[in-house]
């Protein structure tokens, strides 16, 4: 039910597929090679592991090649990672976390306005 654990390298692969899916192994490789510099087999290994973990689904097309599609929603994974990060580093407390990032971030006045609005909704909700 919960999104599976996705390692750092695997996360890059997932991003490529959340961005656009389905994609074959070679397609994903083409996308990631510039940034990651990975050999195609490396990408294939990551894809296989992600399928085993249930994070991806494979679809075999007519010509026998396979394409990969996310089986979990990005938002769910973000949620899970965020939760675990907050636990680990901020002892589960949202406020210190927000304080940390709100103090360190460089934001435009517009973004600040938007965030303040979100915070207001938070209160009233």
């Amino acid at each position: 039910m919960n999104p599976p654990d996705i390692s750092e390298s695997e996360w890059s692969v997932m991003e490529a597929l959340w961005e656009s899916a389905p994609q074959t192994a070679s397609e994903v490789t083409k996308v990631l090679r510039p940034t990651m510099g990975w050999a195609e087999n490396t990408v294939r290994t990551l894809l296989t592991r992600l399928v085993e973990k249930g994070a991806l689904k494979v679809k075999e097309n007519a010509s026998g090649t396979r394409a990969f599609t996310p089986a979990v929603k990005r938002e769910d994974c973000v949620q899970a990672e965020s939760e675990s990060f907050m636990q680990r580093i901020f002892r589960g407390a949202a406020k210190p976390l927000l304080v940390h990032f709100a103090s360190n971030a460089k934001l435009t006045p517009d973004e600040v306005r938007e965030l303040k609005k979100l915070l207001d909704q938070n209160t009233t909700k």
Copy 2:
């Protein structure tokens, strides 16, 4: 210069020592056993690894036993972990991160007020 990578289990050990230092291995064990259920040797291994990584310093006292003290500041480690988390999950962008946590957190009106103030300072700074 940069804080070393600190794994999840290791982080618990660091927390114990940031909380109070110096402490001997047995003291740290006593602190962590209830929550973690670790054998003393497990704690010792983690301590040793943290020393190797340069996250802890050892001080041998008169009686030959050793006590551990953080060699890196918690704030610096939090900073590093936060940065890498933001990179990984939010592609380095602070705003979506803040949106995520601001939307999901349960905050008291007071906390909301405080955060809004922080955001304002952010703008003017």
